[in-house]
């Protein structure tokens, strides 16, 4: 039961926030992630933010994937 999407936190109040992906906005609950900061990318599941995305780690993953992709281009 795992469908969760990264969306960017645009604004927040005490327990709610507005998140956005490609121009699509949604109000979600921040009850499970009370320290979420505006500007962070959050994982959204069933109307709740369940986790925050570590940008540095995300970049590391993307760099790794670029290596795999480049290895194919060099063939």
């Amino acid at each position: 039961m795992c469908l969760a999407i990264p969306m960017r936190l645009m604004e927040r109040s005490e327990i709610e926030g507005v998140v956005e992906l490609d121009g699509v906005r949604r109000t979600v609950s921040l009850m499970l992630l009370p320290d979420a900061e505006v500007g962070q990318h959050l994982l959204i599941h069933a109307g709740y933010a369940i986790g925050a995305i570590d940008e540095a780690e995300a970049q590391t993953t993307l760099a790794l994937l670029r290596e795999f992709a480049d290895a194919m281009v060099d063939l």
Binding site: M1, C2, L3, I5, M7, L21, D22, G23, V24, R25, R26, T27, I44, H45, A46
Partner: protein, 347 residues
């Protein structure tokens, strides 16, 4: 007020059952809410049936449609506009030039006047854009709770010009599959409305395809078949066409145009863009050698800028899937019709 609509629709503040009973109130409703925007010489006679002028040469084409959409007013359109373009597009898909529509409404007691005016104006705008006339109408009012605000039922009459023959019977292996623009805009817009997703860029694509399809025919490309991907989306029309024709259709996921907002709605709600309705797109099957000509003709036409070749037709061997998707990452999977409605999932 939209392009081509010169009057103004005024609907009663409170819609009563009596507005549907055929007496004075019905007369006022038609006179004030519908005639000012939909009016034309044929409709204005307000008799039991419209007696039409002689049909142009060719084969008559007749279609009917029912429109039930929630919400009835959405970004990019309304039920009135949708009901007209949807009917026009049905005629267009068989190669017919649309001419005349009927427009019947079932209204719910208490339906807001603004809803009725919006839909009447929308229908009028669509009729003007598509170059057709609404020549007969009807209005009924059902008790509160027995309807969903507004339902529309239409019939559309057109003529297929002599020499034109489009249909699945003409599809052959090698044919190119084209779509006239990004997919899923209408379905994503409706689902976003229903589930509290906001977006400035998201709007229904509902529009008449009549002029675009005429441009396609005019290009000289050999057009074999046309379908509008409404309920069930591009997936449904391709699957049904593949099944019906006994052939195999390959779709290329990377070639299928999808707007980022539509993709985002799909990701958030767990939907598939291929299954979402389009109300202003055409899927065309054209002879292989004419694919580029057809594509160029559609792209030149307003509304067709985002057209793309999305697949090919092939022979189908026994035991093979009718519809196959070459996935974005280089895999391959068969596609089938989704059973049941498009329910958002969390799994």
């Amino acid at each position: 007020m939209g392009r081509g609509v010169t009057g103004s629709s005024r609907a009663p503040a409170t819609l009563l059952l009596a507005h549907g009973s055929g007496g004075r109130l019905t007369h006022e409703l038609v006179r004030d809410a519908f005639l000012p925007v939909l009016g034309n010489p044929l409709l204005a006679t307000l008799t039991d049936a419209a007696v039409l002028p002689e049909l142009p040469p060719g084969r008559p084409a007749l279609t009917t449609d029912a429109f039930v959409v929630d919400p009835a007013v959405f970004p990019g359109g309304d039920l009135g506009y949708l009901s007209v373009v949807g009917t026009v597009n049905d005629l267009t898909m068989v190669g017919a030039r649309p001419l005349w529509l009927t427009w019947a409404l079932v209204l719910e007691e208490g339906a807001p006047g603004e809803l009725i005016s919006t839909c009447a104006t929308g229908a009028a705008r669509a009729a003007a854009e598509a170059g057709i006339a609404i020549v007969a109408g009807d209005t009924k009012v059902v008790p509160r709770g027995k309807g969903d605000g507004i339902y529309a039922v239409t019939a559309g009459l057109g003529v297929v010009p002599p020499g034109r023959d489009v249909g699945d019977h003409r599809i052959v292996p090698g044919d190119a599959v084209l779509v006239s623009g990004p997919i899923g805009d209408h379905g994503a817009t409706i689902m976003a409305c229903r589930h509290g997703l906001g977006s400035d860029g998201l709007r229904s694509d509902c529009a008449s395809e009549a002029a675009l399809v005429e441009a396609l025919f005019g290009s000289g490309a050999e057009v074999h078949s046309l379908h509008d991907p409404t309920r069930g989306g591009v997936l449904a029309v391709c699957h049904e066409t593949a099944e019906r024709s006994g052939l195999r259709i390959h779709l290329e996921e990377l070639a299928i145009p999808v707007r980022p907002e539509v993709r985002a709605v799909c990701e958030v709600l767990g939907l598939e863009a291929l299954s979402l309705a389009c109300e202003g797109r055409v899927v065309a099957w054209v002879a292989a050698r004419d694919a580029e000509t057809a594509l160029a003709a559609i792209r030149r036409h307003p509304g067709g800028e985002g057209a793309a070749v999305i697949g090919r037709v092939a022979e189908r061997a026994a035991g093979e899937a009718a519809l196959v998707l070459e996935t974005a990452v280089g895999g391959r999977r068969p596609l089938d019709l989704m059973s049941g409605t498009d329910l958002p999932r969390i799994c």
